[in-house]
């Protein structure tokens, strides 16, 4: 059976600390931008809630390449610089990328960005170089809340598969049928009786 690498991101745990964002910069040598950014689901600015004081709500949503099964960015790339590996990891080949940026609007998740220093489009590569050597992605290693779990989605007994089932995890924009490998689980709340 072929592996399919993916992540489960626990939004209950995510505190929006952006350690993942900086971890990605460290691992990939990115000066401006990152393969993973953290959006605030709430108000108009980072770390602001929706609602009216004091009835408010806010959570954080890390956004990265979804490593789609059906890859819209690949389809949009005129240079054929984007490919999907057998294990599901979608990569941009920096040698082929011309920096035309046509892939950027094609991604429904806004996960690609133009690296001004390298003059190529960049995105999360799931730290495939680390996975190959038996290490987890650097963002998952550094996440202080252990909110990012990595594993093989094709193995129903992997921790990540088990948690996806247990926590009723979901993918973003399922209506687009892109088949993301990045899954999320949502906050739950108790009540003070």
């Amino acid at each position: 059976m072929t592996e399919r690498y993916g992540l489960l991101i626990d939004l209950e745990r995510c505190t929006g600390c952006r350690t993942c964002t900086v971890a990605c910069k460290v691992e990939h040598g990115i000066e401006v931008g990152s393969g993973i950014r953290v959006e605030t689901v709430g108000g108009a600015h980072p770390d602001t809630p929706s609602g009216t004081y004091p009835n408010l709500s806010m959570h954080y949503l890390p956004i990265l390449c979804m490593h789609c099964e059906h890859v819209p960015c690949r389809d949009a790339c005129p240079a054929e610089a984007i490919h999907r590996r057998a294990d599901g990891i979608v990569l941009v080949d920096p040698d082929r990328c011309t920096g035309c940026e046509e892939c950027i609007p094609a991604c429904p998740y806004g996960a690609l960005f133009f690296d001004q220093d390298k003059k190529t489009v960049r995105k999360c590569d799931l730290c495939f170089h680390r996975l190959g050597a038996g290490f987890e992605p650097f963002c998952a290693l550094c996440c202080p809340e252990e909110a990012i779990r990595y594993g093989d989605l094709s193995d129903p007994n992997s921790e990540v598969s088990r948690l996806i089932a247990e926590r009723n995890a979901y993918v973003l924009k399922p209506e687009l049928a892109t088949g993301p490998a990045i899954h999320y689980c949502t906050p739950k709340r108790l009540a003070l009786t």
Binding site: E12, R13, T15, G16, C17, R18, T19, T21, V22, A23, K25, V26, E31, V32, G42, G43, A44, H45, D47, T48, P49, S50, G51, T52, Y53, P54, L56, S57, M58, H59, R130, A133, G134, F135, F138, L141, C142, P144, E145, P187, R189, L190, A191, L192, T193
Partner: protein, 745 residues
Amino acid sequence: MSFARPVMIQPGETVVRTVCPFGCGIACGILAHVRDGRLVRVEPGDFPHTSHVCARGLSVPRLVYHPERLKYPLKRRGPRGEGQWERISWDEAIGIIAEKFTRIGQTYGTQSLAFVSTGVGILANLVTVGFAGACQGIFILPAGLGDSAGPCADMASYGAYQWFGEDYANRFDNPAFCLVWGNNPAVTEPFKWRRIREAKEKGALLVVIDPLFTTTASKADEYIPIRPGTDAALALGMMNVILEKGLHDIAFLTRYTVAPLLVRSDNSLFLRMNDIVLDEAAEYLAWDIRSNAHVAHTAGAEPALTGTYNVNGIPCKPAFQLLSELIRQYPPSRAAEISEVPEDIIRRLATAYATARPAAIYRGMGCTRGSFHGDLSFRAINTLAALTGNVKVESPRNCLYNAAAFLTHGVPGFVTLLQMYETILTGNPHPIKSLWMTRHNLVNQDPNFNKIIRELLPQLELVVVADLFMTTSARYADIILPTCSPFEFDDLAAPIGNGSHDYLQLQQKVIEPLYESRSDLDIYASLAKRMGIDGFLDKTAVEYLEMILASGHPSMEGITLERLREGPSPPEPYDTPPFATPSGRVEFYSERLKPFGQELPVYFEPLESQNRPLAKKYPLTFFSTHPKYRFHSMFANVSWIRELDPEPVLSINPVDAAPRGIHDGNLVRAFNDRGEVQLKARVHQGIRPGLVNLSQGWSPGDYFKGTHQALTHETINPAQAAIYEPNSAFYDTLVEVELVKEAGR
């Protein structure tokens, strides 16, 4: 070196286990990757109990190799603060300082030489204290920089300092209820938050009390907004509900608190055996219900907690009776009126807290900075915990050492940070004429910026700054000395307080000192030599670390450098009483605070609250909370961090913004009689109406005009001064905010 977990190491790299030494006090264990003598990256340590890393920690190489790092000593040219510098040699810098120290010391006495330093490195701080002692000078105790009200409260309640740790009220294995109070640990205290999150994932309820809707609040099952600085009133209201419902823990109160101790009605002091029988010991007394007579408080009696008694003609009440009388003045209706927490919420919260076992309270600096009487806020919360028996009967333990080895040439005089202001202005009790700041950005971070600039600095004949960067303080220096980054020398690091972890760790030298930078030890050693202080600081760093470990405190018994090279070490077990108060019990009644009318945890209105007349002129409370990405003023110059948080903004609720004509992104001016700051407004709902907030640590150059500390004040709370150190009540500050029509940086 081997690691507990697999570590991916690139060819040509070596990995050193060390500590993230940048001042947040948490001391996270990290692995430093080094290639060709250069620190290339950092990742979380391999030791699970200390392992953690944040956006700052990962950016550390950017700080170490920052192009703006100070590279060589500088001497001021032209007027102070105008930014004209001349490069000088270390020899010249040390010569100038030695000459001025000698001259100033001869003119005004050696107690005119003052020193301050901060940071987690034990040796780095000890050498400053030691050098101040060797000069017969003054060491400025820096805890009053917003951090001292908590220790003030806990000294009174428990007889123990607790910095950010909260062992007594929350070190339970599986709390069923987590009450986070004026604290945002999900952002500021990751290890504490880890414990809360784990409890929550096991089913504990999380309730957050805060005027701000913080990240922690966003994770809560219930968020309870409160009027700033009124935490003691809420705690008293909760205690009222608990007493009313009989939910208090009589057994705990009797055994572990001063509840049964008799207090004399004539002088408010505890009744002691030698009050009634001459020549007897000064033992505390209680009233035994069975024998209807006074007994020693340690006797196995059934002591009364309530009522009025007469002991040999002296009218007395048990301390619990006095506490109950205070609590009865705060029914939920009154607590609600003061705190603006609705009465029904106070009732529900009190009941939930008192009936969950164990229930943990995680207090924060929102309480202790939120009011000039922040220590009373904490004491009221401590009393709430004691009333319900939610107090761990065990003193926190740390790796402690004896500083004597560094005080061989004298012990400095000590002045607290806030008392420094008056001392410099009046020359009383010490004629301070020189100030040396090591990694303490005093001019940027301490209250009342304009007073520092306009009144304090002109009194000083010499200002020396030893730091990594041209900080705001360095800009006002006469001599600037470039110090090593903590990756460039050996030290020991223990976390400040117990809120994170208890481990002592080796801060290993990872790279050689960059440029002409020197370690604190080297700087003071060469200055001591030049000043003719013989035999002082003449050993190597490693020799001093061994001396610290072997300084004789049982917490470090048997901990060696070899052991620390293998990994962190917890403190060795040592004997210490659970409560080191005068009575050995939890003291919700403190005799020492009687002169201030604060023997009980009373509620006092904040100094600059919205109920004060000053609020007519300045109606908004001004907070300056800890930043999410910087550590105070540090890391603001690191591009990766700047990308996450590019500029200062003033949070303001639409309710306050609209009548002032302020829209999101407008340039605004926050001001009061002390000063002003100009920055962009961020209009959003996550902030309480009547309150404005910015994340502190920005430097004057980051604002359009002014600076946030121009608004704050250094008023001394005498009760805090008597018990420990007076605190900067940064958030007990009123301002007005207005739209700035014309921008002009």
